[in-house]
Structure formats: structure tokens, C-alpha cells
């Protein structure tokens, strides 16, 4: 972005939005919408509170567990679907259904199945993240040039080496799937905890809301957004390095 011929750093637009937030907040139009400065101050309180650290720990661990499962299951499923037509025929429809389904509606069912605790949140994270990883991995495997596999076969590559080539050749797409999955997983962990509402950040949100601590409420939202975007950005950077040579593959 340029203004009067000068280059403006990306952060500048963010600053503009924060100033607008501050002004609107100061006008005191909505009780739900405190100025950014008080959100910032509340953030200090939020992150130092013991409840926050507990919530953070629970949230992080359910997120990590759900994502871990989603990665293992998603990449495995995607590779199998990409390699074997019958498996693809059986699963493709369901993957697409779950990808576009409003998964939040399923959380109450998970609560019945897995109880009002961390397992439900883990399953929610998993369900939010896994399908896009499956689909992108599948696309990556299907895009591998057949001659690359013939080449490895003709030079005597064993099963393990061939699997390695499949994985490396599909890596750009797999990473794209992981990046999207990580962001969806954050949605999953927040929605899961909000609906369960007695653990993790969900419990904190409920607490702040019930006590009209709107600055704290917003501070928590800002923290979560920052986390999700940072994760996506990190994977995005990794992706660029891989794509550097992968997008020119013949």
C-alpha cells in the first residue's frame, strides 16, 4: 500500500483500525464495546490471572491433541484416498459432507458421547481440522506426475522409498492443508469450549460475560485471534520455502 507515493508498512492499516476502535469505544455507545485502551489494560490482568494460565494449559493441550490426531488421520486418509481409487470412492463423499457441514451443530452430540470435558473439545478440534487436511493431501497425491512413480519403480525403489517420494512430492499441498487445518482447529477449540463452557477459555468467556467484564472478554478474543494468525503465518512461511521448488515440478 502506498500513500502520497510513500510506502506504508502493513501494520499501519492495523493501527488505523485500532484508532477507530478506540474512538468508537470512547464514545461509549455500546456497553459491549469498550475502547481498545481498556482492552489492552485488561489484557495485562487476563494473562496474569491464575485462571487464565489454567485455561491456557487446558486449551493448548486439547488443541495439540486434537490437531495431532487430525494430522495423523488426515494425512494417512488423504494419501490412501489419493493412491487407491476404491478407498477414494468410499470416503470422498463423506469427507466433503463433513468439510462443509456446520460442525458446531454436532458438538452437543459429542457432549453426549464424550461428556462435558476435555475429550469433547479434543474431538471438536479434530472434526474441525481433519477434513481439509484429508482433501488437500489427497489432491497433492493425485497431482504427482505418474512418471515420477514409474521412475522410482524402474530404478528399484522399495516400498519405503516410494512412500517417501509420495510424501515429498505431495508436501506443498499437504502443508497448505495443515495451514488451513490449524486455523480451523482454533475455531474448533474455542467453539468446543464455549459450548461445553465449563473448561478452558470457554469457562473464562462465560465468566467474563456473566460479570460484564467486556474489556477482559475482548482481550481474550484478541489473544486467540493473534495466536491463530501467528500459527497460520508460520506454516505459510514454511510453505513458501517448499513451494519455491515444488511449484515448478515437472
Amino acid at each position: 500500500m502506498t500513500l502520497y507515493g510513500r510506502k506504508i508498512p502493513k501494520m499501519a492499516s492495523l493501527v488505523v483500525w485500532l484508532i477507530i476502535w478506540e474512538i468508537v469505544g470512547q464514545l461509549d455507545l455500546l456497553m459491549l464495546f469498550p475502547p481498545f485502551s481498556s482492552v489492552l489494560m485488561a489484557m495485562g490482568e487476563v494473562v496474569t490471572a491464575r485462571s487464565f494460565n489454567e485455561a491456557l494449559w487446558i486449551t493448548a493441550s486439547s488443541y495439540a491433541l486434537g490437531m495431532g490426531l487430525a494430522l495423523v488421520v488426515g494425512i494417512t486418509m488423504g494419501i490412501l484416498m489419493g493412491l487407491f481409487k476404491p478407498i477414494d470412492n468410499m470416503l470422498n463423499m463423506w469427507v466433503n459432507v463433513f468439510l462443509s457441514a456446520p460442525l458446531s451443530a454436532l458438538v452437543p452430540i459429542f457432549m453426549i458421547l464424550f461428556g462435558l470435558g476435555t475429550p469433547t473439545v479434543v474431538v471438536t478440534v479434530f472434526m474441525f481440522a481433519v477434513w481439509i487436511i484429508v482433501l488437500d493431501t489427497r489432491a497433492g497425491v493425485q497431482n504427482i506426475s505418474p512418471s515420477l512413480m514409474e521412475m522410482s519403480h524402474s530404478f528399484g525403489a522399495n516400498r519405503f522409498e516410494r512412500a517417501k517420494i509420495v510424501l515429498l512430492a505431495a508436501l506443498p499441498e499437504i502443508l497448505a492443508g495443515i495451514r488451513l487445518g490449524l486455523v480451523r482447529g482454533v475455531k474448533g477449540v474455542v467453539i468446543g469450549q464455549l459450548l461445553v463452557s465449563i473448561i478452558g477459555v470457554g469457562a473464562l468467556f462465560a465468566l467474563y460475560q456473566q460479570n460484564f467484564l467486556m474489556s477482559h472478554f475482548w482481550a481474550l478474543i484478541v489473544l486467540l485471534f493473534t495466536f491463530a494468525l501467528t500459527m497460520a503465518d508460520l506454516i505459510g512461511r514454511l510453505e513458501k520455502r517448499i513451494e519455491y521448488y515444488a511449484h515448478v515440478r515437472s
Binding site: 519403480h153 530404478f155 528399484g156 515437472s250
Partner: protein
């Protein structure tokens, strides 16, 4: 043994049969699905140390035959014998050069050239040594650490060639290796191939759809006709070996051979 449905031999030179055959194609047919007959009753011998071209219009089954010989595709009927042994899978005595190069995009030139050796379990130092030798031999010295995407099409195919040479196979199977490179590079390649053949003393089976290319580089040309793929003629061009590439393109025997093949092939091209 029936070698071809119609045999046409240039300048009365008899094709050498029997003595040195390294590959035998016996009654090979290939049907894709239920109706696409890509090859029908192919019987051929390939002589050791010769460069034999499979020539024919697009879709006549050249790639199919080459892949069956490579063990990458099963024949619907018939057998391939390499040194008298039946082919069921790829083997270390055959190396393939791919039309689209088939290089690993994440590996350097040297690692790509060493791929076959790595699959054979050769230790790193040894395989790098051998691969390095062939990378130099194909004219890519200085590019060992480059990645495929940094190279031109012609250079990529040289990597493919170095990879095939590194495993020291007896037979090199080349599927239109020069079709994806530009005309100038292609000529250089053809000259290099002829030189390489003299240095390496290997058997080459070379697929092409260019008559000129086939006549220039081959000891023997097998002309395939399409739908279904059959052997229509076998030609042994008898071009003096001591003339240079520029002279060759004006050589009478060369021009006459090209002309004869074109007459044989014309009816299949519409």
C-alpha cells in the same frame, strides 16, 4: 521365426540375428481395458551394443512397448526375455530415460543422478563419486548442486541421462528423450548420443517420432504402424560412420533412407 510382417532392408545389409540378442520380444500383445489394442503380435530381437529406434506416428504403441520391455507395464500376452530371462519387473540391467525427465524436484542434480545407486544401497561416498562422473560426462559439470527447476529442459534431460548411465545398466530405454527440448539442443543431443554410444558400449532402445532423428542415430529402425500397433518394417540405415553431422544431412544414403521411410509411413498419417 517371423521377425516382421514386411521386411525392407537398406542396401542389402542382412540384419544380424541370433548371435548377440540381448532382448527378445516374443508374441507380445497389449490391450488397454477391453478394446484399445495398443500392440498386436510383436516379435523382435534387439542386438547387444546396437542403437535400435522404435519409430512411428503418435499412438502406435511405442511407449507401451518400451514400458513393457522396462517391466513397468505387464503385457496382455507374450513374453520379454532379457539375456534369456523372462521379464516380470524392472531390473538393474535396464535403465529408463523419461520423456518428461521425471526428476525429483527437491533433490540436487547430483542426488538425482545418484538416485538409482541409492536405491541399490550403494554407500553415499561411492554413489556420489559415480554420479559425479556421469554428471560430468553428460556435460553438466558445475551444476552438481543445482536444482532441476534452475535448469533448462535440455539440461534436465541430461540429468535423466546421467541417472540412467550411473546404474551401469546393459540396456538404456529412452522414450522420446529429446522431444521436450528445443531444436538446437536436440541436434547437439543427437550428436552426443552417438558419441556416448561409442564410449559406453551399451544397448540403446530409442523411441522417437522423428524420421530424421531415427535415421541419424540408429543402427536399426523398427517402424511401427498404428491401430493395432504392429511391426511394419525393419530398416538398417547404412550411413558411412566417418562423416560429420553437417555432411550427413546432405548425404545421399541418409536422404534416401529418410525418403523411403516417409513413403512407408505416409499412409498412416492423415
Amino acid at each position: 521365426m517371423k521377425i516382421a510382417t514386411a521386411e525392407f532392408i537398406q542396401n542389402g545389409a542382412q540384419p544380424v540375428t541370433g548371435a548377440n540378442k540381448i532382448i527378445e520380444v516374443k508374441n507380445v500383445s497389449k490391450v488397454y481395458g477391453t478394446e484399445v489394442v495398443a500392440l498386436k503380435d510383436i516379435n523382435l530381437d534387439f542386438e547387444a551394443g546396437q542403437l535400435t529406434s522404435l519409430l512411428g506416428p503418435s499412438g502406435c504403441g511405442k511407449t507401451t512397448l518400451l514400458k513393457i520391455i522396462a517391466g513397468l507395464l505387464p503385457a496382455t500376452q507374450g513374453d520379454i526375455l532379457v539375456n534369456g530371462k523372462k521379464v516380470t519387473a524392472p531390473g538393474p540391467e535396464r535403465a529408463f530415460v523419461f520423456q518428461d525427465f521425471a526428476l525429483l524436484p527437491w533433490a540436487t542434480v547430483l542426488d538425482n543422478a545418484a538416485f538409482g545407486l541409492k536405491m541399490q544401497g550403494k554407500p553415499k561416498a561411492e554413489r556420489d563419486d559415480i554420479a559425479n562422473h556421469y554428471v560430468k560426462e553428460v556435460g553438466l559439470d558445475g551444476f552438481q548442486k543445482s536444482y532441476p527447476h534452475q535448469l533448462s529442459g535440455g539440461m534436465r534431460q541430461r540429468v535423466g541421462l546421467a541417472r540412467a548411465l550411473s546404474v551401469n545398466a546393459d540396456v538404456l530405454l529412452m522414450d522420446e528423450p529429446f522431444s521436450a527440448v528445443d531444436e538446437q539442443t536436440r541436434r547437439k543431443f543427437q550428436e552426443d548420443l552417438i558419441r556416448l554410444r561409442e564410449v559406453e558400449k551399451k544397448t540403446f532402445i530409442f523411441v522417437t517420432h522423428s524420421i530424421e532423428e531415427a535415421v541419424y542415430v540408429s543402427d536399426r529402425i523398427i517402424l511401427l504402424s498404428p491401430r493395432p500397433g504392429r511391426v511394419s518394417e525393419i530398416i538398417d540405415p547404412d550411413i558411412p560412420s566417418d562423416i560429420g553431422p553437417d555432411e550427413l544431412r546432405r548425404n545421399e544414403v541418409y536422404l534416401e533412407t529418410v525418403e523411403n521411410i516417409w513413403h512407408g509411413i505416409k499412409k498412416y498419417v492423415d
